[in-house]
Structures are given as C-alpha cells and as structure tokens.
C-alpha cells in the first residue's frame, strides 16, 4: 500500500473509475501463442534414457556370459550371515533416502530462488 496513511479522495475516485475489463477471449488468445509445453521434450528425454539403459543392459548381459556374474553375486550373498544381510539392506535404504532428501532440498531451493 501507499506510504500515505489516509487515502486521498482522488485515489479513491481513480480506483472507482477504473472499469473491470471482461476477458472476452483474451486469455485464450494468449494461451494459443504460448510455445509447446516442455512435457513433450521431457518425454523425449525419458525415451532416450530408457533406450540407452536397455542397450547398456543388453551389452552387459552379452559381455558377461549371460549374466553369470549376477548368479555368482547372489550365491555369495546367500552365504552371508543374516545380520550382515540386514546391515547391507539397512545401509542401502539409508543411502537411497539420503540421495532422495538431497535431491528434494536442491529442488526446493531452486524453486525458492
């Protein structure tokens, strides 16, 4: 508001004299002229990432003798004591949660700025 504590009569009359202007299709005309939403570019980026992931997975599968290393790793895991398995699962959960929290804070500060 203005620094003046009492409203000047001219200010009041000016406000009252200003008519409300009906939209009459103005908003629609503005929206028609907006560029295409980023969503299409975002979905294209998602498709590229998915394709790259599938390609990399296929290459890794072929290069590792049909994914033999996964079977070996699972065998090793099954020989670990239960407490070790619990600690491993707990540690992985904490790691994922920390990364998520950092990403959320980064996004929030980006929006605030």
């Amino acid at each position: 508001m203005n620094e003046m504590s009492q409203e000047d009569p001219v200010d009041r009359q000016l406000r009252e004299a200003a008519p409300y202007i009906d939209d009459n299709g103005f908003t629609a005309r503005v929206l028609q002229q907006l560029p295409a939403p980023r969503r299409t570019r975002r979905s294209l980026r998602g498709a590229i990432l998915l394709a790259a992931t599938l390609l990399a997975s296929a290459l890794a599968y072929l290069a590792s003798d049909g994914g033999r290393f996964v079977v070996v790793a699972m065998e090793r895991l099954s020989t670990l004591p239960a407490l070790w398995l619990f600690a491993l699962a707990f540690g992985s959960g904490i790691l994922v949660m920390t990364v998520g929290v950092i990403a959320a804070f980064a996004k929030a500060s980006e929006l605030q700025s």
Partner: protein
C-alpha cells in the same frame, strides 16, 4: 482453497503447467490491459497487443521472477517496458505529450460525468506523471514498488505522484470538493 499467485507460478516452473499460467492471465488481464489502455491513451487495439506481449514475455521469463515483489508488480514492470519499447519504436516516447495534450483539449468534447472527466484528465497528464498515478493511486502499488516498475528513483516517483494528483484535483475542481 484458491491457489495463490505464488502457487500458480510454482506449477508453471515445475510442470510447465499452461493451465496454471492461464489462471494467472485471467486474474491479471483486467489490470494489465487497463494500465496499458491508459498508457496508450485508450488505443484499445495497441493496448491489447501490448498486453498479449506482456503475458508472453512473462511466460518466457518466468524463471526470472524471484518472488521478492508481488507477481502483479513484476507484470506491471514487463507491461511498462513493453509500452516503452513500442513507444520508442514509434518515436512517440518523447515530445508527444504536449502535442497530444493540445489535440485532446478540444472544447467540444462532451463531459457526461465525473468518471469520464477524471479519466480524461488522467489521459492529459504527461507520461511520467500518468504512469506514477496509474501505478500508485489506481493500482495500489507503494512508491518503492512503482519506482522498481518504472526504473526511476523513489523521490522522482513521489514528486510525480504529488504533481499528477494536484493537476487532477485542479482539473476536477469544477465538480466541487473531492
């Protein structure tokens, strides 16, 4: 619950939500178009073209809206800059006021009422006083907000508001005490 301007801006930023931007346009179109109609001296077509340009610029540059000022103040600044750039392009920004003032002081203009006289008197003010009056007195911006919109010193805004208001009062003196 109705979303605030800040909520809508956040939706535009995060999801590129054009419906949210449409709501912002609907909320502010009347004041922006009204401001530009007064700045362009009721040239409705030009005012609406500049209003569209204002909202398109706002959409393109919405990431530069820091939230330090109200969204409406930020819009007014874009609107005023659009008007100024257009006026420069038309080479009317400087020197037009006095010329147009003479043309508009036609004794045959009818005066159907106080509101008409007030708006007519407003349109006769020089641009710098008219802009300050429109922003501060009609649209309720503080002097410091208007200084940011017009990109001029705070003291100049105060002087322009004071002078403009006095001129309006003198013009309307015939209607009795205001």
């Amino acid at each position: 619950m109705e979303l605030t301007d800040a909520d809508l801006v956040a939706r535009v930023l995060v999801d590129d939500d054009q419906h949210a931007f449409g709501e912002l346009v609907r909320r502010h179109q009347s004041t922006v178009r009204g401001l530009l109609r007064q700045l362009t001296r009721t040239d409705l077509a030009l005012a609406d073209d500049l209003s569209q340009e204002t909202f398109l610029r706002a959409y393109r540059n919405i990431r530069s809206f820091r939230g330090e000022a109200r969204f409406s103040t930020w819009l007014y600044r874009i609107a005023y800059n659009s008007f100024r750039e257009d006026a420069r392009r038309r080479k009317e920004f400087l020197g037009i006021d006095e010329q147009q003032l003479q043309a508009e002081q036609d004794p045959h203009v009818s005066d159907p009422g106080l509101k008409h006289d007030l708006m007519h008197a407003l349109s006769l003010l020089p641009l710098h006083e008219r802009s300050a009056i429109l922003l501060c007195c009609q649209n309720g911006l503080s002097h410091s907000e208007a200084a940011r919109v017009l990109d001029i010193p705070l003291g100049t805004v105060k002087t322009n508001v004071l002078r403009g208001r006095e001129k309006l009062k003198r013009t309307l003196a015939a209607w009795g005490p205001t």
